[in-house]
Symmetry: none
Subunit: 411 residues, 2 copies
Amino acid sequence: MPAKIMLVICDGLGDRPIKDIGFRTPLEASRKPSMDFIAANGVCGIMDPIAPGVRPGSAPAHLAIFGYNPYEYYKGRGVFEALGIGIDVKPGDLTFRVNLATVDDNLMVVDRRAGRIGGDDSRILFQLLDEELRIPGVELRFYPGVEHRGVLVIRGEGLSWMVSDTDPERDGAPILVCKPLDGSVEAKRTAELVNRISMDAYRILSKADVNRRRVSEGKLQANALLIRGASFYEPIPRVTERYGLKACCIAGGPLYKGVARYVGMDVIDVKGATGTYESDFKAKVEACIKALESYDLIYLHFKATDLAGEDGNYRRKIEVIERIDDALYMIIDKVEDYVITLTADHSTPCSIRTHSADPVPIAIAGPDVRVDDIGRFEERACSKGGLGRIRGLDLMPILLDIVNLTHKYGA
Amino acid sequence: MPAKIMLVICDGLGDRPIKDIGFRTPLEASRKPSMDFIAANGVCGIMDPIAPGVRPGSAPAHLAIFGYNPYEYYKGRGVFEALGIGIDVKPGDLTFRVNLATVDDNLMVVDRRAGRIGGDDSRILFQLLDEELRIPGVELRFYPGVEHRGVLVIRGEGLSWMVSDTDPERDGAPILVCKPLDGSVEAKRTAELVNRISMDAYRILSKADVNRRRVSEGKLQANALLIRGASFYEPIPRVTERYGLKACCIAGGPLYKGVARYVGMDVIDVKGATGTYESDFKAKVEACIKALESYDLIYLHFKATDLAGEDGNYRRKIEVIERIDDALYMIIDKVEDYVITLTADHSTPCSIRTHSADPVPIAIAGPDVRVDDIGRFEERACSKGGLGRIRGLDLMPILLDIVNLTHKYGA
């Protein structure tokens, strides 16, 4: 049998015990026969995506799980969004995530998402910025993303990603001044540049026809840009070269596609894969099965578990888990021939509505695996499994060894 | 609820199976309902204070448990004793633990503790050394400690803590020559300095009135100084700054107070807390409950378990465990609101009468904890718990994450 690995990541899946459901976690309270089947036919454990007690952001957690030490390879989030929406990022590019936002005359943020502007309005405004916002000495590019989101790329010499965000992260606060985060000349210069872009964008967007029309229609205008997630791009070794595996990604959210592209995976676009609650889970699993024909490592990502955690809605988290489980039913028979790994990139407990460092459950099923006696894919059940407690960076080496793609160290 | 953490450390608690009690450890053979309650209401595991197979000294083990990498922050033991007895140690000070000892005319040690001299006699002799022992180029200070113990501080340029002890660690052996432990000029100079102090101390102490009187009373004279635990002091980041927690220490032994002061904890003196078998455990637990009013992190230390291990007395170890358990009964209801962590700094098996690297049991109880199915706070029972096997350095990050004081790494 060819060495093929499916890596299924349910974002933010891990949780903490919730009183209202008998001190169980959403995973423990779900009906999830497919996930349990994978656990029962696999070796289970718990995993610290980064390290015990380290609360992982999604991008560094994914890098670690893909075998890339985030402390070496993570240089800000913007580049992942940029790669995720398909921008041809060049080595040395400084990238940012940007929001179209609504501010009042005092530059106080009224709506961080300009009424979730999107479609043509958003596209036209980003194009306007792309054409009109010029600063000597650097090249600026603006790209629309999903809804109010977009990407800013700054190309030039002497730039740094060590600068703070202008996004206050809440409505009712002023646009922040971008500040250097280290003592370098580059960070100082970049911060000045970002502040100038911030003001020029306000000037350009305020006069845009689109906004005049939106105001007349009673809509929020998108008269400002919130800039965040400064990120420096340089190419890194690709999974294909590192592991000798042809790899692809099936995901909805741009961030996850971006991390996959960053490590050199192909991105397979699936109709209906949106990275939202409404995402077509079954279409993604079908694409995953199809991808087995031409890929060795298939990374399949589900975002909605994390969304439910961030919404603090454990009922919805259970419902999402059960829908994912339903879709995964299509692949469970593959454990006879292939390695199926089921895990999460971090916990997002409903009680705290954000990421936590609680370890995530992991199950590795497939031929040649030391199947243990754990039959429930749950945080606490898996903690008693044969894998013990591992770290995200351990996962790829373990998987590669199971499919005999590792090489002997020494003689 | 405020984020408050109690960290209860029973020194040297871990042990090895003992044939005379049915191959159980003292902990396994104890009646300890309070400890078992904490285990039952918590997530359990085993912990290597430093790393698997590394036999921890108490000071490095405590540093690791407090989140300070001992390989970076541990620079000898003397400073902890000095801080523990309240000496105002200055940055750059070279500190040593010293013993008043009895030697014969050939400088052979007759009693390493000079008959456990203490009280006024000890105080007067240390004062004599402080006044009379002078060496050009450095400032020397002598301070009395508990019983025969004291502290020597050397202040000056070009000193090193890389020097060996003059203490032979047994009676009937000669005072050792202090030797440099690396090739530096500083270590060489410091070793020469220590040897000169060693000889000058003998000269001064031999002529002391106190000793003449002691001899006439048939007591052992304290005519020599044994010098050990060279240690270099420089201030390190305080727990308050690192973790945003106001922290305090409740302990009897100077070493533990010293480590606590070293990491910036306040030390709460409790009447009857002596760091001995006779220590008032209940008074310490009462102080711990009171400290909850004004502190976020309360480190509570019990020494007697280690003493019993070093005495090789498993019956006494069981008795001590049961007395501690009895005192801990007062805090068990706090698990509803606060995080209670119960563990040890290392194992001190009765069979070997010294520290071992056997991992120690750990239980973390409190709200939001993934309570597992372990109900016995014991070495082997805890090894099957939901925490798995962690390291001392993992503990603080895990605790901080449980109380949501960690920050997301990356986005």
